[in-house]
């Protein structure tokens, strides 16, 4: 399933950015972290197979997200363009991680 809005923990830390595809296992971990609900846009098996973010362990996804955020002067910039750039960079990092 594709997350429609950013998923954050109670401290406001971004765990999963909007646009990521979640696996069943990742959903279980999010629940264990106290995330009660997420906004969902869509879900297909094909999307999951082709989305490198969906293939990452959730802890790794959260780590890559935090590392990427730390590199931006304005990590909380909202709007379609900054959000798409952030998502593309995260996908790029995920691909690199899965390749390594």
């Amino acid at each position: 399933m594709v997350v429609a809005g950013d998923v954050k923990n109670i401290d406001g830390m971004l765990l999963v950015p909007a646009g990521c595809t979640l696996t069943e296992r990742q959903i279980g971990i999010l629940q264990a972290w106290g995330v009660a609900e997420v906004e969902v846009a869509a879900s297909t098996e094909t999307t999951r197979q082709h989305d490198p973010l969906a293939r990452l362990p959730l802890a790794k996804l959260a780590q890559l997200t935090a590392e990427l955020q730390a590199r931006f002067w304005q990590p909380d910039a909202t709007g379609p363009v900054p959000e798409e750039i952030f998502r593309l960079m995260l996908v790029r990092q995920a691909r690199q991680f899965l390749k390594d």
Binding site: R71, W73, Q74, E84, I85, M89
Partner: protein, 289 residues
């Protein structure tokens, strides 16, 4: 110690374009001649074996993506066009001008990787936006941070003070430059390119790349600004700034591009950077700064 004036620093930079100067002059003379033809331009380039090899490597790289392999300078000139070839020579000459800048504060490999990537991105954005002469934007992107090289080479004490302030106060590097010097690398680059007789639109692109909305609404600075932001986010080298500069959304809007153009743009930058880097920096694949 008072900071040096921009003029003082620029006077210490050679005004000629170094070893490529004679080739550029010969091309300009050939262009002005009534008997100008591609063969005479090719002959001028072939006098410099390094330049010939560089031109052919670039012509056969993914940067241009020609299906057929080009094996002669004449073929390359006829396919790329004289102006584009001249731009590539100028780009090569600028890289040579700044050989020997100390690596202490900024890795020069990383600096040129960033600059080449911004050049590639700027050219791709200009092509997507269907702006005239997109190859010019490669030069604009390549040179956008050249003012920082002037600083590193001509005012090393102040450059160190700028980097100290940048780290202590955690402010953008160009703001640290303003605090220490009263001017920033954009102004230095604009003055340098003016002295080197670069065209006004190119100077404009470099002078306003951090604040494109202040640049009279011309697209050049917006193109370089967006290219710089994307390349910063991709982490392709660095000219000293370790953080990704904020995106001026007015600049993005001015380009009239859709969000859907971002993904192919990022893929194309990744596809071209290794080949272009190898051509200009003579580096082997695999060792990323």
């Amino acid at each position: 110690m008072n900071p040096p004036s921009i003029q003082t620093m620029i006077q210490a930079i050679p005004r000629s374009l170094g070893s490529y100067g004679p080739v550029i002059e010969e091309i300009e003379q050939a262009l002005q001649s009534a008997q100008c033809n591609l063969s005479s331009i090719g002959d001028a380039i072939q006098k410099d074996p390094d330049l010939t090899a560089r031109l052919l490597r670039l012509a056969n790289s993914p940067y241009f993506g020609f299906a057929a392999r080009l094996s002669t300078v004449a073929e390359a000139v006829s396919l790329l066009g004289i102006q584009q070839v001249q731009d590539l020579i100028i780009a090569s000459s600028v890289l040579d001008r700044f050989k020997g800048v100390p690596d202490e504060l900024v890795s020069m490999n990383s600096f040129w990787r960033h600059s080449l990537a911004v050049g590639i991105a700027a050219r791709l954005i200009a092509m997507e936006r269907r702006l005239p002469r997109p190859d010019k934007f490669f030069v604009a992107g390549l040179l956008h941070d050249v003012g920082r090289l002037v600083l590193l080479s001509q005012a090393p004490v102040h450059a160190r003070a700028i980097f100290d302030l940048y780290r202590q106060e955690r402010i953008p590097l160009h703001e640290a430059e303003l605090k220490v010097l009263g001017y920033d690398h954009q102004q230095i680059a604009a003055e340098l390119l003016y002295c080197w007789k670069f065209p006004p639109h190119l100077i404009h692109a470099v002078a306003f790349h951090h604040h494109p909305s202040a640049g009279e609404g011309r697209p050049e600075a917006a193109v370089v600004h967006v290219a710089d932001h994307l390349v910063g986010a991709m982490g392709l080298g660095s000219s000293g700034e370790q953080m990704v500069s904020p995106l001026d959304e007015k600049a993005w809007a001015a380009l009239g591009l859709g969000v859907e153009s971002l993904s192919p743009l990022v893929s194309a930058i990744d596809e071209q950077i290794e080949a272009v880097e190898e051509v200009f920096l003579h580096r082997n694949h695999g060792s990323r700064p």
